[in-house]
Symmetry: C2
Amino acid sequence: MAPRPTASDRLDRDELLSTALAIADSDGLDAVTLRRVATEFHVTPMALYWHFKDKDALLDALVERMLAEVTLDDSDDLRSVMTTMLGVLRAHPALAEITPLRSMRTEAGLALAERVVGLLRAEGHSPVAAAQLSIFLLNALIGLVVQQPGEVAVPDPAQRGALLAAKRARLKSLPPEAWPHLTETADFFLGLPDEEEYYDRGLTLLRRAIRTD
Amino acid sequence: MAPRPTASDRLDRDELLSTALAIADSDGLDAVTLRRVATEFHVTPMALYWHFKDKDALLDALVERMLAEVTLDDSDDLRSVMTTMLGVLRAHPALAEITPLRSMRTEAGLALAERVVGLLRAEGHSPVAAAQLSIFLLNALIGLVVQQPGEVAVPDPAQRGALLAAKRARLKSLPPEAWPHLTETADFFLGLPDEEEYYDRGLTLLRRAIRTD
DNA sequence: ACGGTCGCTATACGCCGTAAATTTATGGGA
DNA sequence: TCCCATAAATTTACGGCGTATAGCGACCGT
């Protein structure tokens, strides 16, 4: 969109990532294309290969960039770490999708894991239990964001509306006698009256799973 | 691979799905290509469009097929539902990846959701809490499978080995003073000594999260 | 002044999903 | 028995994707 974000006429790895991140946030992960990013810098797609080994490396760097937004200080306990992490994921739902397998391949991801495992150890979990819990927690937070009712990964408003309408029609047409519980809770699956309530419940759930006592 | 799975010379939707499922299981989700499936039936890619609206519909049908493997009877409690579901997901890890947003678009997925929400209601959860928990549980089970340490989504043995070796080198090279917890638990992140133990811990975690008391 | 490396372009390839038009096979009614 | 509507698949083509390979100009230390 913008002709060229910088004054210099040389590509900057960080600016490439910023642009790619903006594309992911606004148009979804599928819109993050080497050609698309290159175009926004008025450059050939192959130019990106000087700065990233391949597209996979670019995505890794994107995840790294996102995880670096999880700024923690020593006073943060597990609860605030989770809250912070959740906030970052909610800001970048498209990247949340691909974070699980990539987080440990990034510096920021390793640091975060070290931190979380440490906090879990301090709560009395065994090393292995703490390690498994750390993965579990990251995954659960991502799940909360990606699966948030009413959200669909496709950013095109028309198509999204169509998908949601289809889902609504489907759920609303179920006979209550045969589907008592889904009809009772259909509204929840179709959209959230209060997002914060949803995420609070999610965090409470996780805290209960963690409890050692 | 097989020249033609059936005697008839007409494509059969179910056989198409079986083949696609086999491809996904053996070679990963990215290998599930309209051209690849078509080739295995000695048929043009466009032939598949008679049986599926588009690729997305084929993937939906694939998820449906997998979820249909979750066979339950009325005596099953929540615990056994989760165990059964976990078994099915472990049998089809490639499909597990795309299940979250698709499950509610399938008949089998709706039935499963109805069942799980009902069981959660019976445990004393409010309608909304039960609904959220049902999503959470599905997601957590998928997370256990997809994130299973030592597993990577790419099926090519050489590339998988390389990835794992890189991860191992990375973790093993961390200085223990700066990374006490990750070095202590490195072995867990690199592979499981006992898969069943891993999944047992996961299920226990979930049961604790569900508990109403 | 010059040679090398840095950073990028040019071109091309093979793969993907799929739109549109066309062809072939089939089975039921006249 | 013939015919024809409709089912089922083919043909052709398009645009988009990641990326291998080769080449080219500008800059920089000597």
